[in-house]
Symmetry: C2
């Protein structure tokens, strides 16, 4: 089901041979009749934008926010590949358009894998007939598997709205193996939504889900989230479609955080009592991106002094004398100094898979949060080489 849960969509995943392992590596999501429907997308902010991102952005602009299909490959990011990369991405769209029966501009394209290696486009083109053959309303799981890189399991979601359905798939090995850090998601819905509403709802959903996952502070060259809406179901309010997309994206983001094979912990950091939401977000991110604080979580060490230091260097309004820090609801620091606390209970919380840290800055009323992982030997192992 997943990305084909809403009526009117088909999907497929095949092994084209981009991955040397022979695993599934080519994926398609399309409308069942090849007709373009309302589409919206958000892309990476990295200026080293991969070819598929450039091509998808151009197609979405040229079509006025409509698409009939998304073609995706894993095993190669088609990033830092120059003019040949752009041509390869266009050829992927043209090939998909031919088999779906639409205009190439109505095809969006995503790639994920290593950067700076020419995309073997002939290998992909050779597999297109098999991909066309395989597409069906049952093809969601194969499609989700074909976009995996170092993910250990496919990530899928289905959200039932009032008279409409949102289905989706995602890949994000970001947690652990950011050598292939790209985060991709494709969502489909049968809701009847205007293009501007869909774009706004998607932007909000991404801000409250994928953008609150931070593993190592890196932004990929290829990050893309796409949603298609074919209008066969009910016409939800802006709030209703926004809520459904947010729920779907948060579910997928939580699956990513949970699929951190080499990480031993999922850590949620909340910064409250901040002067502004921006300050709260920046403080939480500075903690989440701190290599050495991440190592201390791996060691199950509630070293709040390091967190105080991370907050002090975050460039936000901060007064150490007002800081409180708690782990799993157990306060260990108040007024910027260590306080008596149940060390055994804190140790027990730190030993679990989910760690919950709340920092109260005591300087205002704003808050924000972020999800991250610990930094482990396995992270180093996975990122030591490209092979």
């Amino acid at each position: 089901m997943s990305v084909t849960a809403a009526q009117g969509y088909v999907a497929a995943g095949v092994a084209a041979g981009v991955k040397a392992s022979g695993d599934l590596d080519l994926s398609l999501v399309a409308t069942d009749d090849g007709r373009p429907v309302v589409a919206a997308a958000t892309f990476t902010s990295n200026k080293a934008t991969a070819a598929p991102v450039q091509v998808s952005r151009r197609h979405l602009g040229a079509s006025g926010g409509r698409a009939a299909a998304v073609i995706l490959n894993s095993g190669n990011a088609n990033a830092a590949t120059g003019a040949a990369g752009i041509e390869a991405a266009e050829r992927m769209c043209a090939g998909a358009a031919h088999l779906v029966g639409c205009n190439p501009e109505h095809v969006l394209v995503c790639s994920t894998g290593l950067i700076g290696i020419p995309l073997p486009i002939e290998v992909i083109e050779k597999a297109l007939p098999a991909l066309a053959e395989a597409r069906s309303s049952d093809g969601g799981e194969a499609a989700a598997r074909a976009i995996m890189t170092t993910d250990t399991q496919p990530k899928q979601v289905v959200i039932e709205g009032d008279g409409f359905v949102v289905g989706g798939m995602a890949k994000g090995a970001a947690m652990l193996a950011p050598n292939m850090a790209t985060m991709l998601a494709v969502l489909t819905t049968d809701a009847d939504v205007d293009a501007d509403v869909l774009q706004a709802a998607l932007r909000g959903a991404v801000a409250e889900s994928f953008n609150k996952l931070s593993v190592d502070g890196c932004t990929s060259t290829n990050d893309t989230v796409i949603v298609l809406a074919n209008g066969r179901g009910s016409r939800p309010s802006h709030d209703a479609i926004a809520a459904a997309l947010t729920e779907a994206c948060q579910d997928l983001a939580a699956q990513m955080a949970g699929d951190a094979e080499g990480a031993t912990k999922v850590v949620r950091i909340t910064v409250q009592g901040a002067a502004s939401t921006e300050d709260a977000a920046a403080g939480a991110r500075n903690i989440a991106d701190s290599q050495l604080t991440k190592c201390s979580w791996y060691g199950q060490d509630p070293y709040w002094g390091r967190i105080a230091s991370d907050l002090g260097s975050a460039g936000i309004e901060f007064d150490l004398d007002r800081l409180s820090v708690s782990y799993g609801g157990l306060q260990v620091c108040r007024g910027g100094v260590t306080i008596d606390h149940d060390a055994d209970a804190v140790r027990e919380h730190m030993a679990g898979r989910h760690v919950d840290i709340v920092c109260d800055l005591g300087v205002g009323g704003a808050s924000d949060w972020i999800l991250t992982n610990d930094l482990t030997h396995a992270y180093v192992d996975e990122n030591m080489g490209t092979s």
Copy 2:
């Protein structure tokens, strides 16, 4: 010699018992007659400022930039320790003033070690008579040893100017074990320099040395660099004292980079062809702080695609099509795509202890550089816990 190389200074290092190991942990640098001399300092920008930094800053302000002694301890950072921490830092100064024979305001204080643990001031006070006893013009090495945390060797330098000498000591485990990341340095000189000239020269020297070392993007709560100038030697020009201080600080910074026990490589990243020096510095720092790029160096992998991604997300003027990247002078990327290169020679360069990476952005004429290390299993080991 080192910090006592210039005429008119004494130093000492003793084991007070702050460190459970029994290693040297209390250090003194003072004028030989207890008289205050011209002093300048630079302190951490972290807002979670440790008590000794607050006290030293206040003393330097109250004295109008004069000091007779610096007292330093390792084993405890006296940071996030509240009012008791401030009192403890003041007591360290008062104790040192008593034994040197000067005003407490003429004493500066530094601490390095764990954050958030009350400083055992009684232990330190009990050791002050022994510290007084031990001070001599031969005490430089003991003083340098007593400020070590995870450093594997003391860091000392002597620079001969024209008619004056600059000596110094530093500790910086920052490379590898930033749980105790503080970077401390004390320099002494017999040059005859005005306070404003000394402060300006020190600021410039730090900018071109310690501030160009980045290990994990963290700024400590305790970072301090202090210089004393007693005027017994010649009166150098601004340029001459600036050059000598810069040479001394660069030598100490290089010793820190080289003392990265758990790191296997010292990596110098140069970004040139940038739109501004700020852009070049921000680009170099974004690469140096990228967890996964640091892992790839550990794996001796010249993965320039990841560097392109780091530059693309650095918030600087960037056009992938103009990017060139070289390792050890061997160009592997030009115009944003991989080019034919001698892969064996690149591999050989990556296998060495010193890796030299040059990125040319091709959008301007500015450049800057930074020194950093790889991210290794040993880094994770050292930072997993506080004990």
